[in-house]
Amino acid sequence: MLASDSARKFSFNRLISNGDLVIVYERHDIMKAVTVSEGSVLQNRYGVFKHSDWLGKPFGSKMFSNKGGFVYLLAPTPELWTLVLSHRTQILYIADISFVVMYLEIVPGCLVLESGTGSGSLTTSLARAVAPTGHVYTFDFHEQRAGSARDDFERTGLGNLVTVGVRDIQGEGFPDEFTGLADAVFLDLPQPWLAIPSAAKMLKQDGTLCSFSPCIEQVQRSCEVLQISFTDIRTFEVLLRTYEVREEKLEDDGSNGSLPCKRKQCSDGGNLISSPISSVMARPCGEAKGHTGYLTFSRLRCL
């Protein structure tokens, strides 16, 4: 997924080859991760797609099925991966993920601790942010889930940036070997306050911590414990509102020609003077996520 060597870089010259992970795009809300394997086929409502047809094609290609239906083959990114990964738990989405990475000040070379791993949605973006020289150590107490996450990171090519450990961080804290080494810690736990003292021990001076909790009661208790050794404690909620864009034909009121034509500059030569007038308009989508979780950030107090 990441351009750890230049051959994997996004490039005009990069062609799909056997074993590549591709994101098969049907619609903006229907996508699937597929590992290309020469003898395999992909079957969906648009027909049957032979993987062998995909080999040697550039990423971003439109591919047709036996029935003439089509899909696009995209190169995987952490954002696309978040949309296609298998949900073993609730996952974090792009708005929270982006904000966490920025607010924790994670840059290449950072050492980041995370618990729990869950489905690895955030972990994938953490790995991208610390690459190429940093590392993410992520812990989950659920052995099978940790194993699945490990498999996913191998599949997405992040195996060398992420280490998955099986450990109950609420009960045992983070391993002592990371004491004073972490640049940032992320907690997504049911009782984060139990892990905060350990997180404080792991962090470098002025290091950052984020705790994600869906419920305000969790935030309340976490904040009480945070203020013992942390400062700059701030709690946020971040959401995304999406817009739909449409070209609508609007009736002219009769004063033809006197109304400004909005699409004049961008038309590709079409005749736009005729009535009714068409106009590109945007409005918020009717449905949206109303809540994901509260993000509480803080920084280890300097003594």
């Binding site: 351009a3 954002e79 817009y243 864009v245 961008c266």
Partner: protein, 468 residues
């Protein structure tokens, strides 16, 4: 700059850039540390020398020393206040907790409050200390905290206030008599927040969560070549370079002959290795066919030289020198008393891209595109630049208005140039979290800008035809 002084460094050095947060965000000053640098706090001129070699995150207070006022690290029990959204809520709590213990707080000791404001009358007679009294204390070398205690002792109404308003009183006096200076790392987050708070128009009203989304949506990752159009002072370029960590390239491109200002890049503590990865190129060079590059080299050198000198003088004069500002409540800018040193030490970010690297971009395509160009027609920019992206490359276009993005999205759809197109608007709400007093902050930013994101697909010419 030596190796240890990367953007990830946690201790300051001479020549390093810092963000000074005075009294919980009342005043935000970007400064470059040098023995000669001075900052006026209140009515005192303080040397920044004591800040050199200290950990980021340290809080300083103004002390009176034999040589005059000087900054020294504050004791921990005084260093409770950091920048908080509304500046007060959490401090109250933290002060409480410093007085009591955390357990007491949990037991609800803070929640019990029987006092209210029925006995308070605002007739301006509550304080029996006069301005002369305070001046006299100062002359005798009283420290800020001692003055605050004296003010409280001489306040007829302090005891009648609720615990919460007592803390507010204390905080107000602290800001005046014992100002605190928190030394923050200048990174994408803190720089964006500082500008958004004080000079949002300089960064096109780009809020920090929106910036974070741009970086994600454009898949900014090491070893990538990111094409940017940055007309927001270099904030975007610096944020991308920070994420690249000295690998790949960020190509800061511009229409016409004159590059856009990149002053904000200099506020980041980017290592030389990272600065070398920030290149500039006129868009005409990127669009020209691959072989005709002689004339590019020709007017290259003088143009770059002239430009970089302009940049330096521009940024020095842009400095809001806090020495001259009377109250200094909102200054933001590089505080710099020694331009000569400054020029020598300024990282050389933004060299003009040479033919070889431009050729490699033409050969491979850019990994992604980010545009923050409030003054340009969005569709024109995207139409020109999208073909420069590698196949399947993501892009993210920022604008503070919706309509240019809607038009651009519509045209991209009609032209079948991209898929996964979406316009999104982030919404960010901060909370005050206190025992029994948790609620959203009273003030919030209602708008952080719009983003159009999507993924470039192969042009129809390259695309596969139905299999036979």
């Amino acid at each position: 700059m030596n190796e240890g002084n990367s953007s990830n460094g946690r201790v300051t050095w001479e020549g390093c850039s810092v963000l000074l947060d005075i009294n919980d965000g009342d005043r935000l000053v970007f400064a470059r540390l040098s023995p000669a640098a001075k900052l006026k706090i209140g009515n005192k001129n303080c040397s920044l020398q004591p800040l050199i070699g200290r950990a980021f995150g340290t809080v300083f207070q103004v002390d009176t020393a034999p040589g005059g006022p000087c900054l020294s690290p504050a004791q921990v029990h005084v260093t409770n206040a950091e920048e908080i959204g509304d500046g007060q809520g959490n401090d109250e709590w933290r002060d409480k907790v410093n007085v009591n213990s955390a357990d007491e707080v949990r037991d609800g000791a803070v929640n019990v409050e029987s006092r209210d404001n029925r006995a308070l009358v605002d007739n301006n007679t509550a304080q029996s200390l006069t301005g002369e009294d305070i001046e006299a204390m100062r002359r005798q070398g009283a420290r800020g905290n001692e003055i605050i205690e004296a003010l409280i002792a001489n306040s007829a109404t302090f005891e009648k206030k609720t615990a919460f308003s007592q803390e507010k009183y204390r905080l107000k006096k602290q800001k005046k008599y014992a100002p605190k200076v928190l030394m923050r790392r200048p990174v994408a987050r803190s720089i964006c927040e500082a500008y958004f708070k004080k000079y949002p128009s300089k960064i096109g009203f780009l809020r920090v969560d929106t910036l974070s989304l741009l970086l994600s949506m454009a898949n900014v990752s090491s070893n990538s070549d990111i094409l940017v159009v940055d007309m927001i002072g270099g904030l975007l370029t610096g944020a991308v370079a920070e994420r690249l960590g000295g690998t790949g390239f960020v190509c800061n491109s511009y229409f016409g002959q004159a590059p856009y200002s990149m002053d904000i890049v200099r506020i980041f503590n980017l290592s030389d290795e990272i600065c070398k990865r920030i290149l500039r190129s006129p868009i005409s060079d990127l669009l020209s066919p691959k072989e005709s590059s002689e004339k590019i080299l020709q007017h290259d050198v003088c143009n770059v030289e002239g430009q970089s000198n302009d940049q330096i003088s521009a940024s020095v004069s842009m400095v809001e020198n806090s020495h001259s500002s009377e109250n200094g409540i909102s200054d933001i800018g590089i505080d710099n008393t020694e331009p000569a040193i400054e020029v020598r030490k300024a990282p050389k970010a933004g060299e003009r891209a040479q033919k070889e690297v431009i050729d490699s971009w033409k050969e491979n395509g850019f990994s992604s595109l980010i545009v923050a160009a409030p003054e340009l027609d969005t569709w024109t920019v995207v139409k020109d630049l999208l073909p420069l992206l590698a196949n399947s490359a993501p892009f993210a276009i920022y604008h503070q208005y919706l309509q240019p993005l809607a038009t651009c999205m519509h045209n991209l759809q009609l032209g079948k140039m991209a898929i996964g197109l979406q316009i999104s608007e982030p919404w960010l709400r901060e909370y005050q979290v206190l025992p029994s007093r948790t609620h959203p902050c009273m003030q919030m930013s209602a708008f952080g800008g719009y983003i159009l994101s999507g993924t470039k697909i192969c042009s129809t010419a390259n695309s596969a035809t139905p299999t036979d």
